[in-house]
Structures are given as C-alpha cells and as structure tokens.
C-alpha cells in the first residue's frame, strides 16, 4: 500500500500531524547560558523532565515519558560507551546527534509501520572552550544548534515567542540565579497570548490570557509552582568536579518559589 511515492508521502505527512498533535500540549523547557555555564528549566506534572547525560551534557525532554526515557537511555549508552572506549573529550552532543541519534530517529520516523517517537529534546553542553551550546532535536531526527539558548514546547507559536525572548536577553551577562529568574519569567510570558495590534496596553486581563492550547494548565508562575514540579538543571563550568551537572535541590526550589511564585 505504501509502494507508491504519493502514498508514502501522505503517510509521512499524517505521521507529522499525529506527532505534532500529540506534542501540542507539551510544556516549555528552556535552556539558556549564564556566566557560570548553562541552565535548563521546566515545569511538569510528574518529575522527570531534566537529566544528566554525561560529564558536560544535560538533557531536557518533552513528550511521552516512556519515549523520553528510551531516548535518554540511548544517549546515556552512547555517551558512556564512547567515553569509555575513547575519552570524555570525545563525547560531544554534535557527535552523539550527527552520528548516533539523528539518523536513527529519522529512520524510525520514516518506517511508517513502526510507532514514531513522541518527543522533542533540548540538549545543553559546555564545550571544551568553556562555552554553553544548546541543541534542539525533533522527533524526526532534525536538529538545530543555538548559542544563545533555546526552547522546546509543543505549540509552535509559543516556541517562536519564547525563542525571540531568549534571543532578546543577554543571558551571558547574567549570574546563575539571574538566568534562572529570567528563564522562568520568559516561561511565564511566553505562554501568554500576545496582544493584537490596536489593543490597549491597559488591559491586563487580555495580556495575561494564555493561549487556547494552554487552557487547563497553570496560567502563571505562582500556579505552576503550586500545581507542578519545577526542575532546574545546571551545568556549572566553575566547579572543579569532572561532572558539571547538578540539579537544584528541593530547598533551592522552595527558595525560588518564595521569591518568584
């Protein structure tokens, strides 16, 4: 049935629609640089959004938790086998994606008899020059690299808004704490429906309205802190440890909540 090119293209197109629809309500995970390295933030109803992959690599995932877990384990396996067989310096996101994950994801997506991965990933790395780099990976293996930070979120309009805000902020001049605060404010602002041209600036009700896609989800940081779990992963370039990753502890998250929520 898929032998004819048109049928195959139609099947692929349907697959894209199916995956995008499934991912459409995925909540933003934001990765940005800071003076100390890089930070990834995200809220989720259940824990399991931000992870350590290797000494200098962190992952933020969005989509079906089982698929996030499978690809997380795949990345862990690839990184550790490579780091053991060669060196930790040979484990880079670029290599893991270009020669490992991306071709495999593309193949999976185009084998239309198989279930596609319902996933978007944000990977952050402190490269060996000490700078943060960010990568966004799509369910079909397509990936992009960002220096100023990036976001993964199901809704493409929200993604564009947040990406613009990230690029409009000089995160490299901010400390770790300031970067976390700014990223969370962007998380909150990015989910709000933008005002239409001609709308008055003095209508806070309108401006704080969230996108239709986000209905039923927390509308602001206060509600997000109350209903969901915030996860913050940090790649700290200033540490003397080999592993740069650490997650913010519960007490640090509580302190953030009392300051911001």
């Amino acid at each position: 049935m898929f032998e004819e090119p048109f049928r195959w293209m139609e099947a692929i197109s349907t697959r894209h629609s199916y995956v995008r629809e499934k991912l459409s309500k995925g909540q933003p995970v934001i990765g940005v640089p800071c003076k100390e390295g890089a930070v990834i933030v995200g809220f989720s109803p259940q824990p399991g959004k931000i992870f350590e992959i290797y000494d200098r690599i962190a992952l933020g995932g969005l989509g079906h938790p089982a698929d996030v877990e499978r690809l997380r384990m795949t990345l862990l396996d690839m990184a550790h086998a490579e780091g053991f067989n060669r060196s930790a310096e040979d484990v880079t996101i670029g290599r893991l994606l270009q020669f490992g994950l991306a071709p495999a994801l593309k193949q999976n997506f185009e084998e239309i008899q198989r279930a596609p991965y319902l996933i978007q990933m944000l990977l952050a790395e402190i490269n060996h020059d000490g700078y943060a780099e960010f990568f966004r990976v799509n369910y079909d293996g397509y990936w992009e690299k960002f220096k100023q930070g990036t976001v993964i979120v199901g809704d493409i309009k929200v993604s564009e808004r947040i990406q613009k805000m990230i690029e409009g902020t000089d995160f490299l001049s901010l400390s770790l704490d300031q970067s976390i605060h700014s990223a969370l404010r962007i998380w909150e602002e990015g989910r709000k429906k933008p005002k239409l041209a001609g709308e008055s600036d003095s209508s806070p009700e309108e401006s704080s309205e969230v996108d239709e896609e986000m209905e039923g989800f927390p509308v602001d940081l206060k509600e997000a802190f109350e209903r969901w779990n915030l996860e913050v992963g940090v790649l700290n370039n200033k540490t003397t440890r080999k592993c740069l990753f650490r997650s913010l502890s519960e007490s640090e998250i509580s302190a953030l909540q009392s300051k911001m929520g």
Binding site: F51, R70, G100
Partner: protein, 266 residues
Amino acid sequence: MTENFERINSSGDFFELLKRSGHNAQQSLSGIPKNAALEIPQGTTVLAFHYKDGIIVAGDRRATAGNSIMYDRCDKVIPIDDYSLMAIAGVPATAFEMARILSHNFEYYRRSQLRAMSTEGKVRALSKLLKDNVAMALQGVGGVSPLFAIYDTQQNKAFLYFYDMLGAEFQILTHVATGSGSPMIKGVLEHENLWGLSPLAERSEGEATSLSIRLLQTAAQFDSATGQARPEDKLYPIIAKVTKDGYQFIRDDEMETIYKSSMNRS
C-alpha cells in the same frame, strides 16, 4: 555509535553495556602459553588510613618490570567518582582498566537510575572486576591488589577496603598498605597507631600527609620497586584525601612544602 539505539536495558549495569558494545573486559589468555621471560611493570607501595576528617590515600610513583625502572611518574591513586578513590598495586594495565570501568560504572548507574550506587554496591563492583580477572592473575600477567576508599554521604562516614587478587574484600578500620614495599611500613603504621603521639584516626590532615610521605620514603629505602621523592625534579608521592567534601588531591606546590617540613625531625 547507533548500535545501542533501541537496545535499551534500564538496569544501569555498565558491565552489561560493555558486553553489548562488544567489549570483553575480562578476556583471559586461555590457550596461550606462559612466557617466562615476560616482565610486566609492577611493584609499588600504596597505603591508606583513617584520619580525623576521613581517609588519606598515598602512593609512590614508580613502575618497574623486573629490575628495570619503567616509569617514575605513575599515578597510583585514581579518582573513581566524586567520593571514592582507588589505589593500585600490581599490573598497571589491568589496574588502570579496572579503574576506568569502575568510574564509568558508578557514573552510568547514577545517571541512569537517578540515584548514586550504594557504598556496598560500589565495593562489590570492584570485587566483581577482580573475580572476573582471576584467570589473568593466575597466569601472572594481570594481578591487581587494590585499596578502595569511599565517603558515604548517607551515613556520613568514610570506609576503607583492601582486596586480594581473587576479589575478596576486607574492610579496614585503621590502616592498610599493599604492594612490594608495604611489608616495610606495615609495622611502622601499627606502631604509630598504638604508641604514636595520637591514634591515626585522631590525626589532623597535616599530620596524616606528613606521616604518609615519611612512610613512603621509608618503603623506598628498602624496596627498589618503590620510588623515592625527587624534589629537584619536582617529583613527589601522590597523596589524596576522601572526606565529606569528596576526594581531593594534594597539589604539587603544596607537596613541596609538606615534603620539606616532613623530612625534618620533629
């Protein structure tokens, strides 16, 4: 690199990942006749003891093969993860490989299982490596007898283990030394612990590092396979501590000062 795609095993077992990736860490030399003329680099003194803040681990830097000195800057105290160190005596090739496997094993487990491996699990992981290496050890080309020092952050307590070549683990409550130079200093350690100015476990970091340097110099005096410090070449023993803050090596510039003061009679 894609060989592991969709071949997921979530046990967090790095040994299994190695096997899946085609690595045979414990390949024995079955069928290969023993080469009597073969001289493998070995010979060492490494020691460790409990002190006030945790455990001090120290080792000389020499690697020998028979009567030849092969290398004089060998690092025999190896960090495994943030809270553990391994000190090696025996065949360096096998020992370094074991340390690398162990290090990846602990980190792989922590990252995949989202929690650190227990102290007992870590201690047994090294035991398993040694047990799997018995064939090589018996053939005389892969024998390793390591020390393992770890700080358990749950129990807020430091643990020290000694292993024999077959993989048996022995918890050490006071002090231990291994390698060809160790018989020369075991008695000194015992004497210091029982009748020194204070028990080893009550000594400060300065006292503990100073004693370590003196012990290694003593071992080198009587054992040709143990290297002496050579300040003129900035060559000093390697000394590290494992405390509640993790492992930390004494830097070379600190070693210079500590060495000078330790060589004086006090």
